[in-house]
Symmetry: C2
Subunit: 356 residues, 2 copies
């Protein structure tokens, strides 16, 4: 029996047994190993173009659907659980886009749970995801205690985005460099001659030292000190973005009002711009505003918001890549810090005093 006819008979046997095309059918047709097909499917490092072309040709010829067929393999469900704390934040859509991009052409598929930042819901979603046989979890800005994240990570491969735990042993983390991001924002405002720079942050439990907001506040305080502006250091907290409008309004009504507001997230900065408009204060002439995340609405002319880009898409892509590696057996933790960039638009005055 020649190699070719042997591979054909394997292919036939596979189809007969399961009634559908499996990864083994593809391997047989392409004349490669099952693990080689698996590598191509998950875009693993070190796959040659020749191998990729061969496998993809067989996939196309056979009409193989990785998602449907791969589920049975080695007890995996090829489903990843993503736990989002807040579906309304447009930044999280960017993270999801990155996760989807990394998983495209792999057999893995993400299913989302939304906790609305409630710790109780996070806990029961984790249970539900493990019960539904997900292969791994990505937590985005979790509100749980560190011990609970550790406990979940001992049960299932886990990657955490938006929570700083560079020493964690049982899971990976992916974060923007929140301290540096905040420092860029303050440096930009100080370069334009501003001094009275107030920070609007998120009102969460004071114990959350690992949160992105705590790190941004730290960056803000550090930069103010570095510029000799500690006397103007002024931090206020809003429970969620819509409440930031009231907070900003009250700050802007003070006789000694801030020259600039650095907001922990864009949606909070949009509320600050709204408050300024309502009070007849023009942005940026009367008030500079900086957001964080560089989400799509920053680019609307009516917002024109200077913001810190922390590459949500990249954070999402890296997290999915790292989770697939963990599922495939990596034990050693990886902790990734992604650089941030300042994106200057018209909501901040520039060093020359002119707005963009």
């Amino acid at each position: 029996m020649s190699e070719i006819s042997q591979s054909k008979s394997i292919q036939k046997a596979e189809r007969d047994m399961s009634g559908r095309i499996t990864i083994r059918t593809v391997a047989a047709d392409a004349g490669v190993s099952v693990s080689a097909v698996s590598k191509v499917l998950r875009n693993a490092y070190g796959v040659s173009d020749v191998l990729r072309a061969k496998v993809n040709a067989s996939i196309e010829k056979l009409g193989y659907r990785p998602n449907a067929s791969a589920r049975g393999m080695r007890g995996r469900s090829y489903t990843l659980g993503v736990l989002l704390s807040d579906i309304r934040n447009p930044f999280f859509s960017e993270i999801m886009a990155g996760i989807n991009e990394a998983l495209a052409n792999t057999p893995y598929q993400p299913l989302l749970g939304v906790s609305n930042s409630a710790v109780g819901v996070e806990r029961s979603l984790i249970d539900a995801m493990i019960d539904r046989q997900m292969d791994g979890l990505i937590f985005v800005a979790p509100r749980m205690l560190d011990e609970e994240i550790d406990a979940a990570a001992r049960r299932i491969p886990t990657v955490v985005i938006g929570h700083h735990r560079p020493q964690a042993m049982h899971f990976d983390t992916v974060n923007g460099d929140d301290e540096a991001g905040a420092e860029h924002a303050i440096d930009h405002l100080v370069a334009a001659g501003l001094e009275k720079i107030t920070h609007i942050s998120l009102d969460i439990s004071a114990s959350e030292d690992n949160s992105v907001t705590a790190h941004r506040e730290l960056g803000y305080r550090r930069a103010m000190e570095r510029h000799g502006l500690s006397r103007h250091t002024d931090v206020h907290y809003a429970e969620h973005s819509p409440l930031a409008r009231n907070l900003a309004r009250n700050l802007l009504k003070r006789s000694d009002r801030p020259e600039a507001l650095f907001c922990w997230t864009d949606s909070c900065a949009f509320e600050a711009i709204s408050a300024a408009m309502e009070l007849g204060i023009s942005v940026p002439q009367g008030l500079s505003v900086i957001g964080y995340d560089n989400s799509p609405p920053c680019d609307l002319a009516q917002n024109n918001l200077t913001s810190i880009d922390q590459s949500g898409r990249q954070l999402g892509m890296e997290s999915a890549r790292m989770l697939m590696e963990r599922i495939e057996g990596r034990q050693k933790p990886e902790h990734l810090l992604v650089e941030t960039r300042l994106i200057v638009r018209g909501s901040t005055i520039t060093a020359s005093g002119h707005d963009l």
Copy 2:
């Protein structure tokens, strides 16, 4: 053996067998049937306050966690799959909030799949959700063919939001009254003396007669005709919201430019406002803009967008209620049309010619 000690021994037996508190433990402790506890948990119609108080007292005393404990019952997973076509649309966050509200205090928990409006992804998500033993599915604005929705609904209890199929036999639908909503928008503009009213819709396959956008376009055309303005009927399509800015810019550059833009969704209207600002056209004096969905950013001073409220929260709540009924055994289809309301803000001139 008195009733009380009997119930205690049942409770003990339940705990010993499973190692955790179950719905039966709660029933025994409260001295009621398991189905009575189930009714309280899912907020069923006709539960007396006395029964609710009794069951809730036992739940609290025993530290019962419905989500974790109920999973084993009658082969249900108590997980519902929600298929969103686009996580970026803030209207869908409102629907999710409604679904979460209806499921709070029930044992059911939603898990989301996001298709990014790709039919292939919708198909494989449905497979994944059925494989993961979800008890029922809610499709939000699906892009699949009607036959595919029918096929899915024959496999698993299904409710569809944002897709008009009032004759469907195998699933329920929940929709805003899209035709009436569009007519309200046009009536409002015509009442202010405007005639050149252009509609910006979504570029999807022409065969999608059941889509919300097709129904809104129908309402627009009908209202224009009713007001004797058919000669000004003018519909343009953008593939997604960011592209609506270019489209609006081109429309506004025409010598014979529209006096008003009626946009199929708010995010598209925000782009139109941005285009007007970039061209130095003031809203509403030079251009009236109406959106659809009354999403939270409408309320920002920089948008101040008149919009049609289709009660996303209510659509979500009703869909979850209907799905739980289907899972509990209802077979007869229910098709719900929810009234829409015009919310007037400053982006449209009023009949008196003054802006708000």
